[in-house]
């Protein structure tokens, strides 16, 4: 949706909530609220507690706003000091970036480049620049999307609140993978730093240390942001799953064994449940879209960057294996392997979470099609949804460039082969040119 309609929608949505409260006085509302408050008040945010580590990291690096927690189901905008802190961190980051680019121009930046062939140097230049670009863009986009992210969080929390009120189910989201990935990222980066410094010969100036360290930090933070995005997607995916499970209770398979009486009693709760399901589905779709809008630029950049990194690393491996000198430097091997495993893991995570969420979002209509509408109004209720969801599959697109789902890995690796071949040709070209020069000198 276009942003302005989005705004209207938000307003409407809030008012609708109030309407629902005012219209339907929940007898158990107070009790449920108490039930909600009591466990969660000490713990803090019920939803985001298990991605808390990532949140803290991102907050500390100024990528996320350090929001206040108003109630257990709402987060408020950050206080001024925290805002200032975030601004300060971003400013430092940009300063460091500029400093890096400057020092890369200076000769001691050239020591970072290991290989001698000019193609490789060009590759490494492009890689460095891409990394810097990605990180800077991430920072900028995050700075712009502060409000958007807080809105998303609030939406999710409200959703949980309603679910809790209607069904008394507190949705748990198992995003424990995030911590593992954090560890993986940290380990890979540290290892890479170590190898770099180990490989470097001669006296190492502090600027070089700053360069390498900041480079590693940039990579790590970008990767962390990707993990965060996929965690958000996972959360949304779990909500979708909940809706689908709810809907699945009405499908044929459940109804087969029952008698007509049971069927009646089973189906009579269908209309209001269907209303709730439809509303929840709409809101989930909206959350999904807004997440997409927030992250898509970053994701595009990251995809491009990791694609390029994977390609260059494969290329380096290839060169190391097939060079005629016969000496294979183990450092470069380890280095490439570390990069490869890091980026492949991230790509897999991203594509899998996107694919899972998209699948869950699109499967709802199929499940609804399985609901047995005996009487006329049930059929109407079902038709209403189905008519509007023909050919309306949602996609998690990378800025509209291409859809991200399970097949993205496939595409990316086919593209990697393409560019690999091109790089190999450049290498052969250079070899042939060297030979020519040798022949001319002889």
């Amino acid at each position: 949706m276009s942003p302005n309609s989005w705004v209207i929608e938000m307003a409407a949505h809030k008012s609708r909530l109030q309407v629902r409260r005012s219209l339907s006085p929940h007898p158990h509302a107070l009790g449920s609220d108490a039930f909600v408050r009591s466990p969660h008040a000490p713990v803090g945010n019920p939803v985001f507690e298990d991605i808390g580590t990532i949140l803290s990291v991102l907050k500390a690096s100024g990528l996320l706003p350090i929001y206040e927690q108003v109630s257990s189901f709402e987060v408020g905008p950050p206080t001024r000091t925290n805002e200032f802190y975030s601004f300060f961190v971003r400013g430092v980051v940009h300063a460091l970036t500029i400093f890096n680019i400057y020092s890369l121009m200076t000769p001691n930046g050239a020591k970072l480049f290991i290989s001698l062939r000019e193609t490789d140097n060009v590759n490494q230049w492009i890689e460095l620049l891409l990394c810097i670009l990605t990180y800077t863009l991430t920072v900028f986009v995050c700075a712009r999307n502060t409000k958007c992210i807080i809105q998303i969080m609030n939406e999710i929390l409200k959703l949980d609140q309603e679910v809790l009120r209607q069904f008394g189910v507190a949705l748990s989201n198992n995003c424990n993978f995030s911590i593992k990935f954090l560890l993986l990222i940290a380990a890979c980066q540290a290892y890479i730093i170590f190898i770099r410094i180990h490989v470097l010969d001669g006296v190492i100036t502090p600027t070089t240390y700053i360069l390498i360290g900041f480079y590693a930090i940039q990579n790590g933070l970008t990767a962390t942001y990707i993990v965060f995005a996929s965690a958000l997607l996972r959360i949304v995916c779990i909500r979708f799953q909940f809706v689908n499970r709810l809907l699945n209770g009405y499908s044929y398979a459940q109804l087969l064994g029952k008698s007509r009486r049971q069927l009646q009693s089973h189906m009579e709760s269908f209309p209001e449940d269907s209303l709730f399901i439809y509303r929840t589905h709409n809101r989930l779709l909206r959350i999904y879209k807004s997440i997409n809008e927030c992250c898509s630029l970053i994701i595009v950049c990251f995809l491009g960057y990791s694609f390029y990194t994977v390609t260059t690393n494969w290329y380096n491996l290839f060169v190391q294996i097939t060079n005629n000198k016969g000496v294979i430097s183990s450092h470069i091997m380890q280095w490439c392997l570390a990069w490869l495993c890091l980026h492949t893991a991230l790509l897999t995570l991203l594509s899998r979470s996107c694919g899972a969420t998209t699948n869950e979002a699109n499967i709802t209509s199929q499940i609804l099609a399985r609901v047995y509408g005996k009487s006329k109004e049930f059929q109407n209720i079902i038709d209403k949804f189905l008519t509007k969801s023909i050919k309306q599959e949602v996609q998690f697109t990378a800025y509209g460039f291409f859809a991200i789902d399970n097949s993205t890995l496939f595409k990316i690796f086919s593209a990697v082969t393409t560019y690999l071949v091109i790089l190999i040709q450049f290498k052969q070209l250079e070899d042939s040119k060297l030979e020519e020069q040798l022949q001319e000198t002889n």
Partner: protein, 531 residues
């Protein structure tokens, strides 16, 4: 006609020989005696152990084979360009990997497979209750045909290769027989999949057939009703005659009123298609359908209402139940198809990868053999073009048949909605229209699409991308080969110019190939919504 007996006989009855065979070679771990008595697949520990033993045996033999034939490869490595050697090394184990994938997945799924066929049996019973009969008898025939063809192909390839290309002087060469095992087992596994898929397709077609029967019956009923045999065919007849005469005065008035507008519209649309005959047609048909009062006056403007008891379609409440059940069964079959796809997804993926790689490699080695270069010993069948052709036909036949079958199945499942709409249109009745709309909305959302682990859908459009991929990789390999050859014989800059140029071309093809994959993926995304 097996279903005429009141109790539906299970589908597995047809699978006897296939099950015995696959039991013996160790494709399926399920229990033999239970199958023989109750025609059910149940998991059994002994079968599992036996199967694992077989797997271990095969792996051992295969390794022995590779070892015994590898001394030729040492010479190959010495002489040959590294490319061929690397490819050979890479492709040596892929057949084994494929076989292992099949057997291990069969082990994991041994429980689920039985449930699958149980579900199919339940579906058969429900279909039988709807008086639409499924004929299982031709399945057994199919199985036999497939088995025979498999065995013929395998034996032919094996024997010809053995006689032609293996020196059967030392006894070790008997090990060559082992090289046929993986493909054979894989084919058996795929026959299970293919036949079950075919059974699903038959179920879909049975549903469609019942719907079509409803339509034809109703049409007969209508023609009998409208009673004039001279009408060329029912539709125009009833459409022109069920039009009650009392409208006609108003219609002519309306027609006069609209004449100007029509002409204007025609002129206006003249830009788009300037005064083609079809418009004249439309005017004619409309005109003549306007001047219908000369037709004999029908006693009842709408024949559906009073003669309701004749055709089944004409009372909605009775047919609603049937249509509902059919729709549910359709959905159930779709679910079964998805489950089956889930069971076989990894084997299919491995089969596709295997087919792709082997096809490319075989052609490449054929090229090498024609250029009198030595090739890896396991692919010695590439030395003889004829055997190569047979191998290629066999390998590609497996893949293409699976793809074709799944495509056909999804077509059949889509066909159901069409025949449903035929029912709706033929008996035009508001109640029925509501039902038909509801059900067709549901049918639109029943999707049966077979995909290999979500990487690509098993669809004919995949063939396009795959063929493009094969050609491009082949050309790239050949060009690398040429480059290596020319690098061997002493070079000057001219040749390097050429082979780099060739490589550039290769890269171009690569780019296009990836882009075709791109298009392929996009098209496969678009296929549910092409319009």
């Amino acid at each position: 006609m097996s279903q005429v007996t009141p109790m539906v006989q299970p589908l597995l009855l047809q699978f006897q020989q296939l099950f015995f065979l696959s039991k013996v070679v160790g494709v399926l771990p399920q229990d033999l005696t239970k199958f023989r008595h109750k025609n059910v697949l149940e998991k059994s520990r002994n079968g599992m152990i036996y199967m694992l033993g077989m797997l271990a045996l095969y792996v051992g033999l295969y390794n022995l084979l590779i070892y015994s034939f590898s001394e030729e490869d040492r010479t190959l490595k010495a002489t040959q360009s590294t490319l061929t050697f690397v490819i050979g090394l890479f492709l040596t184990y892929i057949g084994l990997i494929m076989m292992a994938t099949d057997q291990v997945t069969a082990l994991f799924n041994q429980g689920k497979l039985g449930e699958l066929y149980e579900r199919i049996r339940v579906v058969d019973e429900r279909l039988y209750r709807e008086q639409c009969l499924v004929n299982n008898s031709c399945i057994a025939k199919r199985i036999r045909i497939m088995l025979v063809m498999t065995i013929i192909f395998e034996l032919f390839i094996l024997l010809t290769t053995y006689i032609e290309l293996v020196d059967y002087t030392q006894w070790l060469s008997l090990l060559w027989m082992v090289s046929a095992i993986p493909t054979f087992i894989n084919t058996l596994d795929k026959i299970w999949f293919a036949v079950s898929l075919f059974a699903l397709k038959e179920r879909f077609e049975a549903i469609n057939a019942t719907l079509e029967d409803l339509v034809t019956e109703h049409e007969k009923f209508q023609t009998w009703l409208t009673g004039d045999a001279d009408a060329p065919e029912p539709h125009t007849a009833d459409s022109s005659e069920t039009q009650p005469p009392q409208y006609d005065s108003n219609l002519e008035y309306l027609y006069k009123e609209l004449g100007g507008i029509d002409i204007g519209s025609l002129r206006g649309s003249g830009g788009k298609n300037n005064k083609v005959a079809p418009i004249a047609h439309s005017l004619n048909s409309f005109g003549e359908s306007i001047q219908t009062p000369r037709k004999p006056h029908q006693p009842n403007p709408n024949p559906m209402m009073n003669m309701a008891h004749e055709s089944e379609l004409s009372n909605a409440t009775k047919v609603e139940e049937k249509l509902n059940n059919l729709c549910q069964v359709h959905d159930e079959i779709c679910e079964i198809g998805k489950a089956m796809n889930g069971l076989w997804s990894y084997p299919i993926l491995s089969l596709m990868a295997y087919g792709f790689l082997i096809f490319t490699a075989q052609l490449y080695f054929l090229y090498c053999a024609t250029r009198a270069q030595s090739i890896p010993s396991l692919f010695r069948s590439a030395k003889n073009p004829f055997i190569t052709v047979i191998v290629l036909v066999y390998t590609s036949g497996k893949c293409i048949y699976l793809i074709y079958l799944s495509w056909k199945t999804s077509l059949a499942s889509k066909r159901t909605g069409i025949s449903l709409h035929k029912c709706g249109v033929v008996a035009d009745d508001n109640l029925l229209y509501e039902i038909v709309n509801h059900l067709s909305l549901k049918l639109l959302n029943h999707s049966v699409d077979f995909s290999a682990c979500g990487f690509f859908t098993l669809d004919m459009e995949t063939l396009y991308g795959v063929s493009g991929g094969i050609t491009s990789y082949l050309i790239i390999l050949i060009q690398f080969n040429l480059a290596a050859q020319q690098a061997k014989d002493a070079i000057q800059s001219f040749n390097s110019f050429n082979d780099t140029a060739g490589l550039v071309g290769a890269a171009t093809e690569f780019g296009n190939e990836s882009s075709t994959l791109y298009d392929l993926v996009t098209t496969t995304m678009m296929t549910p919504s092409n319009y």
